[in-house]
Each structure stands twice: as structure tokens, then as C-alpha cells.
């Protein structure tokens, strides 16, 4: 499902054209009848895409929360990128990053 969402994100990006700086791309379209979940997409200036999949079991998260989460994610990601030993495309093994992500997830759930 993440891959399909990626396709949709790509589609969105290609259609946007000028508005490449749109960081807050809320995509609430992929709601399957069986698996109700929401997919949020977020694109950075360097075309790095963050996809967040949220279960709709809990009350839908507000837009601001999602955005703040993405922002934190973005910041952590840049910190990871600062590491010269990190090759873009590798699995991120940064503990700080992981802890941040888990804390976010815990916070939501």
C-alpha cells in the first residue's frame, strides 16, 4: 500500500509543476473500505518523500499535528543527512532519528 501511495505522490508532484515548495501535502484519498487508513505525503525541496500511514481507528489527527510531525521528521532527517558516513538511500540507522520517530508514534497513539 505504501508503494501505491508513492505512485500517487509522484503523480501529484508531476502535476504540481511550479508549486514544488508545497511541503504540506495532505493526501487523504487512499481510504480502502477494508483497511481504513490515511496516507499523508510530504515532499522536501530535494524531492525526498515522506509517507505517513495512519490508522483511522483513533480520531483523525488534526492537520496541524500531521504537519508538525512531518516537520520534526524533516529536521531529524536533515540531522541524519549531516552525517558524512550516511549515504543517501541507505537504511537510516541513526538512534536519535529512531527515537524521535518512535516518540512521535507513541505520542499519536
Amino acid at each position: 500500500m505504501v508503494h501505491t501511495s508513492l505512485d500517487v505522490v509522484d503523480e501529484k508532484i508531476s502535476t504540481m509543476g511550479k508549486a514544488l515548495v508545497d511541503q504540506r501535502e495532505l493526501y487523504l484519498g487512499l481510504l480502502y473500505p477494508t483497511e481504513d487508513y490515511k496516507v499523508y505525503g510530504y515532499v522536501t525541496n530535494s524531492k525526498v518523500k515522506f509517507v505517513m500511514v495512519v490508522d483511522s481507528s483513533n480520531t483523525a489527527l488534526r492537520d496541524n499535528e500531521i504537519r508538525s510531525m512531518f516537520r520534526k521528521l524533516h529536521n531529524s532527517y536533515t540531522d541524519v543527512m549531516c552525517n558524512p558516513f550516511y549515504n543517501p538511500g541507505d537504511r537510516i540507522q541513526s538512534r536519535a532519528f529512531d527515537s524521535m520517530v518512535t516518540s512521535m508514534m507513541i505520542q499519536v497513539c
Binding site: T78, D79, V80, M81, C82, N83, P84, F85, Y86, Q93, S94, R95, A96
Partner: protein, 648 residues
């Protein structure tokens, strides 16, 4: 420990161990037992105690220890039999303690019997300096003797341990050893290595004392890593006990903080080494090492990329992709620790925090920063002569810098300790000197690089050897308050009218003769001035002297720039050639005029010498030119002769 010793006595004769005996035995046991129990990190002392209670001593280290007691093999066999190890099949705490007691008995000449251990005995002595060694008990003389040697590091360590354990028996030595506490209790990774093997101790000792290049260090460290893999846990456990003692020791001496995490504390030697490495990557110690540079450098350590990535993550506190000096030191230290087997911490230890590092070791950083800026300004226009000057200034000024930094930082004891460490007749002093040397070294190439033409260089070199008279008083160089131009001008026309003709010996210049005079007097004395004293007026002098030989137009160019500073030079030039360093700026005109006269005369002399040298050089070059012409002609003739041949 004590309970274990007492409780586990069941199988053997009741052991009565004194306080000191118990402590030392338990630590010996810990060392030997380390191999047997599971490995743990540089665990807290509790781990050591746990291992004592639960584990047994492995036969290998125990055998080594016994052999170190220098008892004959037969005696050792007897001892092992008696202590019950053979019976039980392993060296439990009881057996071990009994064995140690028997060793002590044997060493003191008593027969090896169970009965002999019932009495009070001195502690056993083990002759391996890598272990407790003879240093351990009651050998203060050796302690001092070995202090200055490489092995002293381990013995110091042991002596520190004893100090703690023996209720400050050797308290008298502690003051003398306290200044050595920081270097000897130095790189815990290095300590661990000497513990395990004697041969490796020397190597690591040399490593400590003479920080080898990073790459060279790795092969040394690596074989020790795997070789000490077995007893690896053992030294670590011993390290844990040592850490305990060191933390006590540290708290006695450490001024800044009381962080007990010794493995993560950077010592003076390490610090110096790291700073040197930093400088090799990035000359300016106050700026950053970029990520890629650091990556290449740290990759040489042959740690895995994820580990390096993790280390970076820990040390780059501000996550900017570049390492400042404290960040670099922290990263380096983590790498060193990792290579020596310490697992990486979860978070940056407090002693490796950049703020802490900056506060704890500001001196070298400030020294570097200050000196670099100083040498930068100095090397703005230089000459090889400036090298000598800078050399002297570097030594002098950097020596001055510690004083202000000491005051400024308020880190008195730490700085004092640093200076004490520097003063001590050890390589630490060399290491601390090496930043200064490297500073001056780095300043020198920089100054060389600024020399423009080879002719200039030849000129300068040619003028350097004839030892010019010592630099006249340089006092006015920094006395910006005194505008000596004003002072000079009235005197020159008044008293030195006779000197006006001499200056025109130089090619006439459109500038007024007076300023010519000024510049000449400035330039010439400086040109041939050997930096007999540390220069405080160097910047201006360099400007001036640099400009003089090559061409007058350049001099003219420099002169306007440095008019104010140059005008200070005459005062310095004015001071008699001999009364240089001690002459203070006298605002009296008369003295200055006489000094200036002398200066002008010397300047004229120097100018003539310079002319002579230039003329000589010119003739030599002409000669060379002629020769080259002749060669060319000869070659052309040959070519012509050969051409008809080839055509045919």
C-alpha cells in the same frame, strides 16, 4: 569480596586476611577471573564484585600471576596443591586467596605449608611490572624510579590503586604523583592494553608517549585487540576496579568536574594528539573540519561505517555536518575507545561534551587561535628572517599565552595542572610543545610561501648571513601613541642635513628625501637585522624589510601603507645597535636624534652592502646568461651541421 573470601572458606583452612590483603587479593582475583566470566563493557565496579563472587579464576592468568611471583616452579606446584585447586579443579576465590598467601609465605622464606599462612604475612610480590608488580607494596623508591620510564604509567596506576586501597599508605607519594595522575591515569584504552600483555604494554606505552600517526597506531592497536580478545574481559574488569580507584584519585585532583566515567575522559596527551591531528586536517584550529574530510580521516580507523556513523552522530552535537575542535576530539576519542574494545555509549558522555571540552582545555585552543591570528598578521609580508623572529616569538608568546588564559578561564588548577604536566620531564612537555612548534612550523611555511620572487629570496638569504648589528630598540613598534614621524621630521632637517646627500646614493625617488630617509633608515636596519630578540614590532618591520630589496617602487607602495608603523621603526632603529632590548622609549628628541643619526649611518652601510651583494648577483647572473648564450650557439651550430645530413 570480603564475604566471599570468608564465606567460601569452607573447603580450605580458615583464612585470615587483613584489610589490605583482602583488597589486593580481590583485585588480583578479579583480574584473573575476568577471562572466565562473561564479557561486559567497562562496567561499573559492581560488575567486578559480581565477578568476584561468582566466577573462578582462569588457569592461564593465574599461572601467569604465579609465575610472576618468581618462585620456582616446584614451589608453585606445591602451592597450587595446597590451596586446593587441584582438588577442586579450579581456582575459586578461596583457593586463589590461599595460593596468594602461600606465595607471600614462600617469598618471605617460610616453608610452603598451610600453617605458614596462619600468621601475618607481607603481601605477595609479583615481579611483573605489568601486573601489580614489585611496585605494589612498600617500594616507593621504585615508584619514583619508574616514574620517568614508559612502564611507569602502569606502575603509577597500580600505585594509585594501592593508595586508595591501602588506606593511603603511600600518601606521602601521592602529592608527587598527583600531577602525574592525569597523564598516567591517561588513556584508559592504553591502560587496558598494558594490563594484558607485557609486550603489548611497551608498544602501547610508546603509543602513549609518542603518539604515532593515526594509521600507524591502528595496526598496533588492532593486533592487540584480537590478541587480548580472550583476556579482554579480564582487563576490562580490572579496568573497572581501576576506574573506581581512579575516580577517587580524580576527585582528589580534578578541579573541573567529578565525572567518574574515566574511559571517556580525554587526557592531556590524548588531547595534544587530537589537536595535532585536527591541525593536520585543518590548519585553523578555530574552524571546522568538513564532513567529507573527517569521513576520510575516520574511515582510516577501519571501523565499520555504521559505527562511524554512530560516532559522528554522537559527536557532532550541533548537527552541522562539520566538526569543531572539541567535537573532533570527542569523535576521535570515541573512535579510540571503540578500537580498544569499549562499546559506544548511548549518549555523549559528559566529559566529551563540546562545552566541557572547550572549558577543560581552552589553553591549546586559545593558544592556537591566538597564535594563529598573531602569526597571520605577522606573516602578512615575510621573509625567512621572520621565521627566526617568529620562532622566538612563538616560544615566547605562547608561553605568555598560558598565563593570560589561565587567568581568564579561571580554570586555574586545570591550567596549572597542564603547566605542571608541561613542566614535568616527560613527553607531555614535548607534546605540549609540539603544538607551539607546529604552530611555528606552520607559520614558517606560510611565511615562505609569501615570498614572491626567487631573486628576492636570494637577496634575503644573501643578506641574512652577514650578521647585522642587533636590532636597535624596538620599543616604539607598538608605541602607537608616539608619532615618531613628527619627532623625526623636526630633527632630521635640523641635525641631519649632512646626511641628506647619502640617501641619494640610492636611486632617486620621487618621494621627498625626508621620507626616503625615514624609509631607508627603517628599511635598511631591518633588512639586515637578525632577530636577536623576540620581535614585538615585527609586523611593520616585515612590511618594510620585505619591500626594500626587490624594488623601490614596491617599497614606495608599502611605505604609504605602513607609514605610521614605519615611522615607529626609526625610533627602534634609532636606538644604538647595542643597547637594543633594554632601551625604553624615550620621548626626548635629543636622544632620538643621535640614535637616528647612528641608525642612518648604519643604514647607509647596510645599503652599501646590499648594493654590493646585488652587484655581485648581477654579475653572476650575467655570467650565467653568457654561458647559456654560448651553449645555445653551440647547439644551433650542431643543428645546422646535422641538418644537411638528415636532409640527405
Amino acid at each position: 569480596m570480603e564475604t566471599a573470601a570468608g564465606g567460601g572458606c569452607g573447603s580450605g583452612p580458615p583464612l585470615l586476611l587483613s584489610e589490605g590483603e583482602q583488597q589486593c587479593y580481590s583485585e588480583l582475583f578479579a583480574r584473573c577471573a575476568g577471562a572466565a566470566s562473561g564479557g561486559a563493557g567497562p562496567g561499573p565496579p559492581e560488575a567486578a564484585r559480581v565477578s568476584l563472587g561468582a566466577a573462578t579464576a582462569a588457569a592461564g592468568p593465574v599461572a601467569d600471576l604465579f609465575r610472576a611471583s618468581q618462585l620456582p616452579a616446584e614451589t608453585l606446584h606445591q602451592i597450587t596443591e595446597l590451596c586446593g585447586a587441584k582438588r577442586v579443579g579450579y581456582f575459586g576465590p578461596t583457593q586463589f586467596y590461599v595460593a596468594l598467601k602461600l606465595i607471600a609465605a614462600a617469598q618471605s622464606g617460610l616453608p610452603v605449608r598451610i600453617e605458614s599462612i596462619k600468621c601475618e604475612l607481607p603481601l605477595p610480590r609479583f615481579m611483573m611490572s605489568k601486573n601489580d608488580g614489585e611496585i605494589r607494596f612498600g617500594n616507593p623508591a621504585e615508584l619514583h624510579g619508574t616514574k620517568v620510564q614508559i612502564p611507569y604509567l602502569t606502575t603509577e596506576k597500580n600505585s594509585f590503586k594501592r593508595m586508595d586501597d591501602e588506606d593511603k599508605q603511600q600518601e606521602a607519594q601521592s602529592p608527587t604523583m598527583s600531577p602525574l595522575a592525569s597523564p598516567p591515569s591517561s588513556p584508559p584504552p592504553y591502560q587496558r592494553v598494558p594490563l594484558s600483555h607485557g609486550y603489548s604494554k611497551l608498544r602501547s606505552g610508546t603509543e602513549q608517549m609518542h603518539p604515532a600517526p593515526y594509521e600507524a597506531r591502528q595496526p598496533l592497536v588492532q593486533p592487540e585487540g584480537p590478541s587480548s580478545g580472550g583476556p579482554g574481559a579480564k582487563p576490562l574488569r580490572h579496568q573497572a576496579s581501576l576506574i573506581r580507584s581512579f575516580s577517587v584519585e580524580r576527585e582528589l585532583q580534578d578541579n573541573n568536574s567529578n565525572y567518574p566515567d574515566e574511559p571517556w575522559r580525554i587526557t592531556e596527551e590524548q588531547r595534544e594528539y587530537y589537536v595535532n591531528q585536527f591541525r593536520s586536517l585543518q590548519p585553523d584550529p578555530s574552524s571546522f573540519i568538513s564532513g567529507s574530510v573527517a569521513k576520510n580521516f575516520f574511515t582510516k580507523s577501519k571501523l565499520s561505517i555504521p559505527e562511524l556513523s554512530y560516532i559522528w552522530e554522537l559527536s557532532d552535537a550541533d548537527c552541522d555536518g562539520a566538526l569543531t575542535l572539541p567535537e573532533f576530539c570527542a569523535a576521535f576519542h570515541l573512535i579510540v575507545a571503540r578500537k580498544n574494545g569499549y562499546p559506544l555509549p548511548e549518549g555523549l558522555p559528559p566529559t566529551l561534551q563540546p562545552e566541557y571540552l572547550q572549558a577543560a582545555f581552552p589553553k591549546p585552543k586559545w593558544d592556537c587561535a591566538l597564535f594563529e591570528s598573531y602569526s597571520e598578521s605577522m606573516s602578512a609580508n615575510q621573509q625567512p628572517r621572520d621565521l627566526n623572529r617568529m620562532e622566538k616569538t612563538s616560544v615566547k608568546d605562547v608561553a605568555d599565552f598560558p598565563v593570560p588564559t589561565q587567568d581568564v578561564t579561571g580554570d586555574d588548577k586545570q591550567a596549572l595542572k597542564n603547566t605542571i604536566n608541561e613542566a614535568l620531564p616527560k613527553d607531555v612537555s614535548e607534546d605540549s610543545a609540539t603544538p607551539k612548534d607546529s604552530n611555528s612550523l606552520k607559520a614558517r611555511p606560510r611565511s615562505r610561501s609569501y615570498s614572491s620572487t626567487s631573486i628576492e629570496e636570494a637577496m634575503k638569504r644573501g643578506e641574512d648571513p652577514p650578521t647585522p648589528p642587533p636590532r636597535p630598540q624596538k620599543t616604539h613598534s607598538r608605541a602607537s601613541s608616539l608619532d615618531l614621524n613628527k619627532v623625526f621630521q623636526p630633527t632630521v632637517p635640523a641635525t641631519k642635513s649632512g646626511l641628506l646627500p647619502p640617501p641619494p646614493a640610492l636611486p632617486p625617488r620621487p618621494c621627498p628625501s625626508q621620507s626616503e630617509q625615514v624609509s631607508e633608515t627603517e628599511l635598511l636596519p631591518q633588512l639586515n637585522r637578525v632577530p636577536s630578540q623576540a620581535a614585538e614590532c615585527s609586523p611593520a618591520k616585515k612590511d618594510v624589510s620585505y619591500s626594500q630589496p626587490p624594488s623601490k617602487p614596491i617599497r614606495r607602495k608599502f611605505r604609504p601603507e605602513n607609514q605610521s608603523t614605519e615611522n615607529q621603526e626609526p625610533s627602534t632603529a634609532a636606538g644604538g645597535p647595542t643597547s637594543v632590548a633594554t632601551v625604553k622609549p624615550h620621548p626626548t628628541v635629543q636622544k632620538q636624534s643621535s640614535k637616528q643619526k647612528k641608525a642612518i649611518q648604519t643604514a647607509i652601510r647596510k645599503n652599501k652592502e646590499a648594493n654590493a651583494v646585488l652587484a655581485r648577483l648581477n654579475s653572476e647572473l650575467q655570467q650565467q646568461l653568457k654561458e647559456v648564450h654560448q651553449e645555445r650557439i653551440a647547439l644551433e651550430n650542431q643543428l645546422e651541421q646535422l641538418r644537411p645530413v638528415t636532409v640527405l
